[in-house]
């Protein structure tokens, strides 16, 4: 199968039903995308497919052939992705950092859709991403900062 990941074409040999997550992590060694639950409950594995956030742990690789896949390793090449990454650093969002790849992918997709999200928009877009360290208030602040709003540190 040919896959387009971060604007590059790669060839993989995998069963059609293999989840994209394992193709990325185990077959291609692209480990920035994280495993957290395996059934689309935690958002750690979030990637973009044609710009939309999806949970790669439940997405069969055969479903993304011919589509544009963006991962945490490539999201910084978009203006929004970069703004989100910069805001994340400025607000010192991460604690352990493990869920943050998925958080950043969800946030970048939100900001493409809604450049100035309301708190309710943030709740709706980000509540699928779990952070056990509890960085939610800083994620909210960083999203607002990336959106050019006043991000206020708690």
């Amino acid at each position: 199968m040919d896959l387009t990941i971060n604007d590059r074409t790669v060839q993989v040999t995998a069963s059609e039903d293999t989840a994209l997550l394992w193709v990325l992590r185990d077959l291609l060694g692209m480990t920035g995308t994280k495993f957290g639950c395996g059934i689309a409950l935690c958002g750690a594995c979030t990637v973009h497919v044609d710009g939309k956030p999806v949970r790669s742990c439940v997405l069969p690789v055969s479903a993304v052939v011919g589509k544009k896949i963006t991962t945490i390793e490539g999201v910084g090449s978009t203006a929004t992705g970069q703004a989100v990454q910069e805001a994340w650093k400025k607000v010192n969002v991460p604690q352990c950092g493990y869920c943050q790849a998925g958080q950043i992918m969800s946030a970048a997709a939100l900001l493409v859709e809604k450049p100035v999200p309301s708190d309710a928009d943030i709740d709706a877009a980000m509540s699928g991403n779990i952070c056990r360290c509890g960085t939610y208030t800083r994620i909210r602040a960083a999203i607002k900062q990336a959106a050019g709003q006043t991000g206020k540190r708690s």
């Binding site: 957290g36 395996g38 010192n92 604690q95 950092g97 960085t135 708690s154």
Partner: protein, 764 residues
């Protein structure tokens, strides 16, 4: 040692030290018994020096300076989100007079003989290692100054280091650290007590705002390496079907279907563990495949018949009833002041309440995972471990190879919270690599593995009684705590809380009550009990802080005023007078309980939160990990009973603060974790099996249910002679009771059973 910061280490017992002695004794409680402490007080080691391998402050171990001036600092403590990989280098760099932009870090492998203690637990990295790290930086600075003085042939007193170079003021000559490094490295490191530390007013990084995380770039670009991430060409990926019941064994298995799945390489039974303690690997069947997805799929095709063993009937509902029965009967007395029984008999009023906290799971976002390979009889492991040395020791034992032949690379931890102090998952990787002729094997725990086989937070019933006089003053207090002990994973089940569990908020109650009685009836463990962030402080504080609010309500007094009255006047309490011989492993002289500081966090948090001027506020305060924390939660419960938490305030005093941003982030995290366990956290057992499979059943707080605003009020000490307290854990215990007290304030509903779920009115 420094005139600025007296050595924190008068001595103490670390978790591991304690355990080593516990196991050696084949049972219990040789350590910590009062007579021994009193007899051996002078010989007792406290703080960092009480931990296995103590501390190392040799600059040549921790600091390397390249010709281009880049400074690489070894970080020997594990990073799990607390910011230690920024905090430790920040301390070194300050004393080194380094340019922060030229600092790089390297994670130290497991090697306590070289680096000192590496057990990252107990909220003690900063308080135990600020001193040695300062001495490292200062010693290296002195060596650089000496090298420059020798180069210029001038007295060393005429030169000084500043911003990554050494300057000779008289002539204006300067030499960069890169140019001096080789010469400096050949000089002897100054003796431990010949190092001069800078005065606190000259700190440039310590205690200052604005330090960016050194791992920030790697984390936001996906480059950061966790234990689940190492990847080698041709490596294997494994998952394991483990015994669903603690102590269970494989009776029979059939892997014929599983091995037919595409990508499966091998199905094998896990070798029997070498030790009988529950700290080690569990019995099970491993599936090894070309990717983790294939291994997970094949595992579901395994047919396994288990012999459940003696815990096969464990049922958390039945167990709760047993604990309640025990909590209503007199048990082992662990502290007695005055005469509770006659005092309560004379009380004008008696109040009684009982609280329940179920098992909870750590659910680190990175589930347990590790990679191992074996080449020429030498095993290399990559693991997200809080206990590097123990990981190395255990793997050496399990593989039957010398300790020297095991290398443990410590990766970033995708969350720890105490789970990753137990290295069973790393041992699994090593054992499976051995079974695959040394090829690299990655073991990944799925989320259901994590929730089924965690070292769970203990389950507890806390029974409290208080007698009040006619004026509403508390004159007698009984607290009976029933909870299976963490001691059960190290050897024979002690069936009673150990000293460190009792000392987390049960016996060391800092209240001015003349007649106190604490009891600890027997409880047997039926699953693996482990450290969970703040450990026994979670149930103890939930019970005590809820009960105080109940007493205030019963007397019609303001909760804050009532709590301050109960604490009494500002004073220093010797923990030994509270029968607390543990005291977090710290010197009782250096770390007494300071009720003035406890009062101050309560006064601060209530003032900042608008206490008295708002509805729906709840308060709680707790002393743990030698730090003081008080929380006010604000709740709104709408007409349908739906609970919202608009804001939480937390005031915190851990003495001097090295990196305020990371202390604040730890407290923000503690608030969210406290709300999560209070509102939703529960693991239940039927037929010995954990009933929660994934985040739909073990729910946790998310963006939409987290407090919208968390305000952290640090009370940092400006006096660096004050000993430091912990920061990772002590914010957590007051959160759940503050929340329940707020729900009571808003609705009149008193919640005594966690989690809250629908008890506030509507389902969460």
């Amino acid at each position: 040692m420094s005139a600025v910061l007296p050595r924190a280490a008068e001595s103490g017992l670390s978790r591991r030290d304690f355990i080593a002695k516990l196991t050696a004794a084949g049972g219990l409680v040789v350590i910590g018994c009062k007579t021994r402490i009193l007899a051996a007080e002078e010989a007792e080691k406290y703080g960092a020096e009480g931990m296995p391998h103590g501390t190392v402050d040799n600059p040549l171990v921790f600091i390397a300076i390249a010709d281009d001036g880049l400074v690489t600092i070894a970080v020997h403590r594990s990073e799990m989100g607390q910011g230690v990989r920024t905090g430790m280098p920040l301390i070194v760099a300050d004393e080194l007079e380094a340019d922060w932009s030229k600092i790089r870090i390297q994670q130290a492998p497991a090697d306590e003989a070289k680096y000192g203690n590496q057990d990252t637990d107990g909220s003690r990295s900063t308080r135990h290692f600020i001193d040695p790290m300062r001495r490292c930086g200062a010693a290296a600075r002195a060596m650089l100054e000496k090298a420059a003085a020798a180069t210029w042939n001038v007295p060393v007193t005429e030169v000084h280091a500043q911003n990554h170079e050494v300057v000779h003021e008289k002539t204006g000559r300067k030499l960069g650290y890169g140019a001096l490094a080789r010469k400096a490295a050949k000089l002897p490191a100054p003796a431990h007590d010949a190092v001069t530390l800078k005065p606190a007013e000259k700190f440039r990084f310590i205690g200052k705002e604005g330090t960016a995380l050194l791992d920030g770039d790697d984390i936001v670009t996906g480059k950061a390496q966790y234990g689940i991430d190492p990847w080698f060409e041709g490596m294997f990926f494994a998952v394991i079907a483990r015994s669903p019941v603690l102590g269970g064994k494989v009776k029979h298995f059939d892997g014929a279907e599983a091995v037919k799945e595409p990508g499966v390489v091998k199905v094998l039974e896990m070798p029997a563990t070498v030790a009988d303690a529950q700290f080690h690997t569990l019995a099970g069947i491993a599936v090894i495949a070309s990717n983790t997805g294939a291994a997970i799929k094949a595992r579901s095709a395994l047919k396994i018949e288990w012999d459940d063993g003696e815990n096969g009937e464990y049922d958390s509902d039945v167990y709760r009833a047993q604990m309640e029965k025990a909590a209503r009967t007199a048990g082992k007395v662990v502290r007695e002041d005055g005469d509770f029984n006659s005092a309560i008999a004379k009380a004008a009023r008696k109040v009684e309440a009982e609280y329940y906290l179920p098992h909870i799971a750590h659910a680190t976002m990175e589930p347990p995972a590790a990679v191992a390979r074996i080449v020429d009889g030498k095993c290399e492991v990559w693991a997200p471990t809080q206990a590097p040395q123990v990981t190395r020791e255990d793997i050496s034992k399990h593989l039957g190879i010398p300790f020297e032949n095991v290398t443990v690379h410590v990766t970033l931890l995708g969350g720890g919270f105490g789970r990753k102090s137990k290295p069973d998952f790393a041992t699994e990787a090593a054992v499976l690599s051995k079974a695959m002729d040394g090829r690299p094997v990655k073991v990944t725990w799925t989320r259901d593995d994590d929730l089924h086989h965690d070292f769970f937070h203990t389950v507890s019933v806390e029974h409290l009684q208080a007698g009040l006089d006619a004026s509403g003053k508390v004159t007698s207090w009984l607290h009976r705590s029933v909870a299976p002990s963490i001691g059960s994973i190290f050897g024979p089940d002690p069936k009673h809380e150990l000293d460190f569990e009792l000392g987390l908020g049960l016996i060391n109650l800092p209240y001015d009550i003349p007649n106190l009685r604490m009891e600890n009836p027997e409880a047997t463990a039926h699953t693996r009990i482990g450290w969970f962030r703040s450990v026994s402080s979670v149930p103890h504080a939930f019970a005590v802080q809820s009960f105080v609010a109940e007493l205030a309500a019963a007397t019609g007094k303001d909760h804050r005023d009532f709590l301050l009255d109960l604490i009494g006047s500002p004073r220093l309490i010797d923990p030994r007078s509270q029968h607390d011989s543990w005291n977090q492993g710290e010197s009782p002289k250096r770390y007494p309980v300071d009720t003035g500081r406890l009062r101050r966090v309560i006064e601060t948090v209530t003032r900042e939160a608008g206490w008295g001027s708002k509805r729906g506020l709840g308060l709680a305060a707790h002393y743990s990990f030698v730090s003081y924390a008080a929380v006010v939660a604000e709740v709104e419960v709408d007409k349908t009973g739906y609970l919202r938490i608009p804001r939480v305030d937390i005031a915190f005093d851990c003495g001097p603060v090295v990196n305020p941003d990371r202390v604040r982030s730890q407290l923000e995290g503690a608030v969210v974790m406290g709300i999560s366990l209070a509102t939703l956290g529960e693991i239940t057992f039927k037929r010995g099996r954990s009933q929660q499979d994934n985040f739909h059943q073990y729910r946790v707080t998310r963006m939409d249910t987290a407090p919208r605003e968390i305000r952290v009020h640090l009370l940092p000490a400006t006096d660096w002679n004050m000993p430091l307290g912990g920061a990772g854990e002590p914010g957590l215990p007051p959160v759940a009771p503050a929340l329940c007290n707020a729900i009571f304030a808003a609705t009149g509903r008193r919640i005594r059973r966690m989690p809250i779920r629908d008890q506030a009115g509507a389902a969460l």
